[in-house]
Each structure stands twice: as C-alpha cells, then as structure tokens.
Amino acid sequence: MTMAIYFLHVQNATEKIEDLEGEECDTLDLAIDAAVDSARELLIDRLRSKKPADGEGSRIEVADSAGHVLAVIEMKDVLKGKF
C-alpha cells in the first residue's frame, strides 16, 4: 500500500495559509488525526499568543494532491472536544 500525500491548509482569523509540502499518511483517517493534533497545538499557541483561537471560519482543511478538500477540522469543534 502506497502512502498518499495530504495537505493541511490552515485558515485563521485573517488568512488562509497553504500547505506547500504536505505529509505522507497511510490513510485519510490518519491525515485527519494529524490535522486534529495540529489544530490542538495551534489553539494552544494562539491562546498563549493572545490571538483569536477559534474565530469564525478558523479551521484546517485536509486536501489531496489534486487540491480536493477531503475533510475540514473546525477549531471550535476541537475546542469543544468533539474529536
């Protein structure tokens, strides 16, 4: 089984930051897990930095190499412990 490359694009309060490198994961579920863990770290860092943590639209998009968005992790859902 070949690993696919998934891209985790970060949308924060002001802009969308494209993931130009991507990361290899065995499955989409593992890519989603990585996105959720990333969202947790971003939330911690934003709170520590006194920046908006889970503002409207703040999320991580999991996309494939063709640019299709396969999953969206909303920061507010992570904050509420939905994952």
Partner: protein, 267 residues
Amino acid sequence: LKRFGAIPEHDLLSSTPLHRATVRNRTGGYGMLNHILCALSDGDRGALLAGAEVVELRAREEIEKPREEVNYAYFIEAGVAAVLLASGEERIALGLIGNEGSSGIAVFLGNTQSPYLTLMLTEGRAHRVRADRVTTAMDERPELRRLLLRYCLAFYNQAAHTAMSNAASTVEQRVARWVLMMGDRLPLKPATMTHDLIAYMLDTRRAGVTEALGALQSQGLIQVGRKAVTILDRTRIEEIAGHFYGLPEKEFVRLIGTYWPPITKTS
C-alpha cells in the same frame, strides 16, 4: 509520530554548487572558515590540526552517536549539524553547529562519550581531528584549552536558550529564532529549510510552522518557497524572536572573539 522518527530524505538539504564554490574561493581549497580555528594562534592551530583531515559530510550523517565512543571532533567549515537528545521515541534539538563551531564537546570536557546525537542537517565539510589529538593538544596548549572550553560555554548558552524557547516562546517566536539561526549558518540566500524539518527541530507540528512562516511572510519579513526560506528583513525577525535570540550569539562573539553572526538589534 513521523517527526520523532528518522528525518525523511526529502527534508534534508543539499548545499548548492555555489556553496562549495564559495568555500573553495575563500580558502583556496582547505583554508579556514571555522571560527574556532580562526581564533587560534598559528601554533595552537597547527598543534590541533596535526594529522587532521578535511572531510566532506553527507546530509543526515551522524557525526556523533549517543553512548558511543567519540573518536573525532569535527570543526565545521560548511554546512549545519544539529545536536539532538534522543529519549525513547522522542528527540529534541539542543542547538546547531555551523562553521562557528565544532562537534566533540564531550572530548573538550575530558570525556569521550555523550548522550547526544549530532546529525548533519545539510551536507558540509569539516576538519576532522582525532579525539586523542584534541586531548593531547589541549594538555600541551593552555590557550587552546581555554578557547575550546569557552566554546563549550557558548554552546551551553545556546542549549539553555533553546530550552527557554521551547518552554516559553510562541511557535512564531521559535520559528523566527530558527530562521535566524539557520540563516547565520547558511549565509547564502535562500537558506534551504523545509517546514517539516523546522517542525522536527522545534518539536512542534508542521501546521504551526506553516502558520508562523505564513505570518512572517505576510508581514514581508521572509519569502517562503517550497523548500527554502529567504530572509528579507532580518531586523524585524530579530524583533519577533525577541529575547529568545541574540544573547547566545553575542556571548559567542565575546567568548570566541570572532565576528559572527550579523545581529542587528542593539539591546
């Protein structure tokens, strides 16, 4: 986790031909770009380098392995190494060594083992000196001994600031510090560094690095390419890194006495 395993091949860096050409042009082949070697008297340098070899180093080459005999000190002429502490599956970076410094701190401090892994992040070049030659030269040459011990203190300062930065800084501050530290040791522009490698070294996830680099870029401070970062406004990056960057570098200058790196902030 991937970031705690082996660094993937694609994250490791290659020096450009220009890098090698620069080394040759400045030194006429095997001259001195290393700050420690430059700071030594001719006699001390000759004693230290008696029997030394100039070696090319590959990216991801482990020049010191944890709990294994340290047979050589590598006085780096080009390229960057990271000193890592590996514990279980986790690895954390203590600091970087470029042409300002050397591996072999355990030897300088009178031992031949350490718990640390010293890994080349880029390809490079170094004067490789046998550990017993280092020890003998230090025993015979008090000024050499004092300088190498002062370098140990300089590296200790760097590691202490890494610990402080990991504990207290934001990811943006940590990334700013890392960009400066890599830039200090890879002076050609752009300095090649992937987000994944930065994340690995900073013990954070790549998304945080991506966001921090994006923020620095949107402020016009860096230009981010797919595997390269170009510093556009060093002064403002230093401001963002704050007190997490600068003191070890200034202390290095005080301790070793050479001009490095190009710090712009005055406080």
